[in-house]
């Protein structure tokens, strides 16, 4: 059985900026909205169908260590709030392949950001949710 263990190297770029060394968690949610196509005569609910294409409703959630240094987390993220951008995530930083696919979310919107998220004695982290946009998968 082949499983995937994330040790250290998933690649995360936000607006083309590589934030892998600040990132501790990343979740890609690939979602198509569920449209009901149940009709009279059906005995069970149905969703979708060959002629029904619903909208994607994707999200990417990332957790980053906060850093206020030049070109680091805050400088990269603050200006993206309220606008759309592109994110690219890969399971490892190796070249894109069938076993290391890249997921690109184009036109993702960042609605909120917490510039300060501070607790005594803890490293500051921020969690960002990018919503919307079209998700594509590349294997080469």
């Amino acid at each position: 059985m082949a499983t995937t263990v994330y040790l250290s190297n998933p690649a995360v770029t936000i607006n083309s900026v590589d934030l892998q060394d600040q990132c501790t968690s990343a979740v890609v949610n690939y979602v198509y909205e569920q449209l009901e196509t149940t009709t009279f005569g059906d005995s069970a609910r149905k969703f979708g169908g060959s002629a029904v294409t619903s909208l994607q409703n994707n999200t990417i959630e990332v957790t980053l260590f906060q850093s206020y240094a030049a070109s680091e987390t805050e400088a990269t993220i603050f200006g993206l709030t309220g606008i759309v951008t592109t994110l690219v995530l890969k399971p490892t930083s190796a070249a894109v392949s069938a076993t290391n696919p890249s997921y690109t979310l184009t036109g993702a919107y960042l609605s909120s950001h917490t510039p300060i998220n501070a607790s005594l004695g803890e490293l500051s982290e921020i969690t960002l949710t990018f919503s919307g946009g079209a998700l594509t998968k590349a294997t080469s």
Partner: protein
């Protein structure tokens, strides 16, 4: 088409000092990359005449 100079070590696949054009940044927010210090629109300037120093014994 505008040419940008990479000014940080964080741009994906690029090194500080590399140049990149608008077309290569399609889909990304270039204005913000400039504001965040990852790119500069300033043209690379030639360094002054190299100064050679001879070591005297």
């Amino acid at each position: 088409m505008t040419t940008y100079i990479v000014t940080s070590d964080r741009l994906n696949g690029l090194k500080r000092g590399d140049t990149i054009e608008t077309a290569d940044l399609a889909g990304f927010n270039i204005e913000h990359l400039v504001e965040a210090g990852h790119l500069s629109t300033q043209k690379a300037t030639k360094s002054a005449k190299p100064i050679t120093t001879e070591q005297k014994d």
